[in-house]
């Protein structure tokens, strides 16, 4: 097969050329700079940057927090998607539109707003404080911010899957005598499981890299509430490009693993309907 075939449509060279050029200039070139810089760094220096106690603490918070946030979103994302897909109630359309708010709202805004709401004298933080729960300037605050920005991913991947599975399959199961809980466990969940896991992974990826909404509420105490992206910024501000690049390389590697995981998940979602697997 020749490239560009078999269609008679024009513009293959022009559009592919422009796309490739743009991506090379804007993405590949800077990426190469990062990789080369990280690769040219002496190994001990690299290990110092990547495995310093401060860096390790930041990984724990970033990865652990993102994992926790994504798990919360796995549960609540499903509940919200289910509510939107299954129930008619006043304000459903509004709620549906609101889900995308964290996409549209600049992260700096959600950062300061969350901080204001959950700080010790904030609307909700006040009550939580009375209950002995401190959100702002703690790891809990970091998880909260990560949950907020990952939420749309969790809802928007599950929602269409739920809408799709709904009608006929559930109807079929019901006429065959299955109760609602049985239908849910044996028909609905298996059908939307790939979508749920994809949503989980997307929410995790977004939470891992998040910067704007986290730094305001986290308090940024080294070793305690400092996320990895912030550590990179600190390195950059100190003109420690090698240290920043090393940490960036770690994060980038994590991103690639996540991208791979998403692709594998989607392939699995398609695959298990064709092949008898695990």
């Amino acid at each position: 097969m020749r490239d560009g075939q078999p269609t008679v449509l024009p513009g293959f060279g022009l559009t592919l050329g422009f796309t490739t050029f743009f991506l090379s200039a804007v993405v590949l070139l800077p990426l190469a700079a990062l990789v080369l810089l990280a690769a040219s760094t002496p190994l001990h220096q690299l290990i110092d940057a990547v495995a310093s106690p401060r860096a390790l603490a930041s990984y724990r918070l970033s990865f652990g927090g993102a994992l926790l946030a994504a798990s919360i979103n796995l549960v609540f994302g499903f509940i919200i998607a289910w509510t939107l897909a299954r129930y008619e109630f006043p304000g459903r359309r509004l709620m549906d539109a609101m889900i995308d708010m964290p996409f549209a709202l600049p992260t700096a805004v959600s950062g300061i707003a969350l901080t204001a709401v959950f700080s010790a004298n904030g609307w909700l933080g006040h009550y939580l404080d009375l209950a002995g729960i401190h959100v702002a300037y703690t790891r809990l605050g970091v998880v909260l911010a990560m949950t907020l920005i990952g939420m749309p991913f969790a809802v928007r991947t599950v929602q269409p899957a739920l809408l799709e599975v709904q009608r006929d399959l559930e109807d079929a199961a019901e006429t065959l005598g299955a109760g609602r809980w049985y239908v849910f466990r044996r028909v609905v969940v298996p059908a939307v499981l790939p979508a749920m896991l994809t949503g989980f992974t997307l929410a995790f990826a977004r939470a891992l890299g998040e910067y704007g909404s986290v730094i305001f509420i986290s308090g940024n105490l080294p070793m305690k509430t400092e996320i990895t992206p912030l550590l990179i910024v600190i390195h950059l501000e100190e003109f420690d490009y090698r240290g920043a690049a090393a940490l960036g390389f770690v994060m980038l590697a994590a991103s690639f693993v996540i991208l791979l995981a998403i692709n594998l998940l989607q392939a699995w979602g398609r695959d298990r309907l064709v092949r008898r697997g695990a």
Partner: protein, 289 residues
């Protein structure tokens, strides 16, 4: 949108015999309540607090923020950035989706992965990439300094970083749409003697217009609101290289909460406007997923 059919389906679900038992009514109320509570705490309260804080000292204080020249400069810079970045990314999105959706070639999936990259990586890393290339100690740093060109810690850096962060939005919207719509109409136009541009403007563009608009809206929202990547390359020079999100951070760190939330309220309105436009586009029957 499919909302009409969906509502009908919901109506039918509700009227089924044996549908509304006590347990299912409880489950239903519980789940709706849980969803509402979750979204109220995480979304509504922060939105409300933005306006409440911005207006806590009255309208006069609110508007005084926008009289400040640094704030005005930040607003101008944000608008300028969007004005430059969004058209470029629109053209890129159209080109990339045309090449990918209409043709078969080797390396297509690699190209798709590269387009997805900015969405997957941390915005901080996106900004850092350009510091590494154009920064003082970066690849071209010495050469740029010698020729008196400043990119990092200057407006071009902000533009490039924003470009990087926002270019996937139009393309990711259009590629699945074009793939789904197929090539039949374009091929028909070509066989009827239409030229390439005519085919594009008269056949393809009208077909994908809602998807394009959708992508542009999202791209614009992200371009105006980007914080992490811009923060790394901007240098935070007030009145010069601060965009609105950066101005929010600066005011906030100065303990000028009213000012910070006043600027934030503008960006919140932008977000609301984005969602409204998005819903309007969806109402034309364009479906996202």
């Amino acid at each position: 949108m499919a909302a009409g059919a969906h509502s009908e389906a919901l109506e039918e679900l509700d009227t089924r015999p044996g549908r509304e038992t006590i347990v299912s009514a409880l489950v239903r109320r519980g789940l709706i309540g849980l969803s509402v509570a979750f979204l109220a705490a995480l979304l509504l309260a922060p939105l409300a607090v933005v306006f409440a804080t911005a207006l806590q000292h009255g309208l006069q204080t609110y508007f005084r923020t926008f009289a400040d020249p640094d704030t005005r400069a930040a607003i101008r810079l944000t608008l300028l950035t969007a004005l430059v970045v969004v058209p470029i990314n629109t053209v890129f999105g159209l080109a990339a989706s045309w090449a990918i959706a209409k043709f078969e070639f080797r390396g297509k999936s690699l190209l798709l992965t590269v387009i997805d990259l900015p969405v997957a990586v941390s915005p901080v890393i996106s900004g850092m990439l350009f510091v590494l290339v154009f920064g003082m100690r970066g690849w071209f740093g010495a050469w740029l300094a010698a020729n008196g060109i400043s990119i990092v810690f200057a407006i071009p850096g902000i533009m490039i970083a924003t470009l990087f962060v926002t270019f996937p939005y139009v393309a990711r919207e259009l590629i699945p749409l074009m793939q789904q719509l197929g090539n039949d109409e374009e091929e028909a136009a070509i066989t009827l003697g239409a030229g390439a541009w005519m085919t594009f403007f008269r056949v393809t563009l009208p077909k994908i217009r809602w998807g394009l608009l959708y992508g542009v809206i999202l791209c614009n929202a992200r371009a105006m609101g980007e914080f992490g990547a811009v923060s790394v390359v901007s240098g935070h020079i007030r009145g010069l290289t601060n965009t609105m999100p950066l101005a929010i951070e600066a005011l906030y760190n100065d303990y000028d909460f009213t000012g910070a939330f006043a600027v934030a309220s503008l960006l919140t309105l932008l977000a609301v406007l984005t969602l409204v436009l998005k819903s309007l586009v969806e109402r034309t029957g364009y479906r996202r997923w």
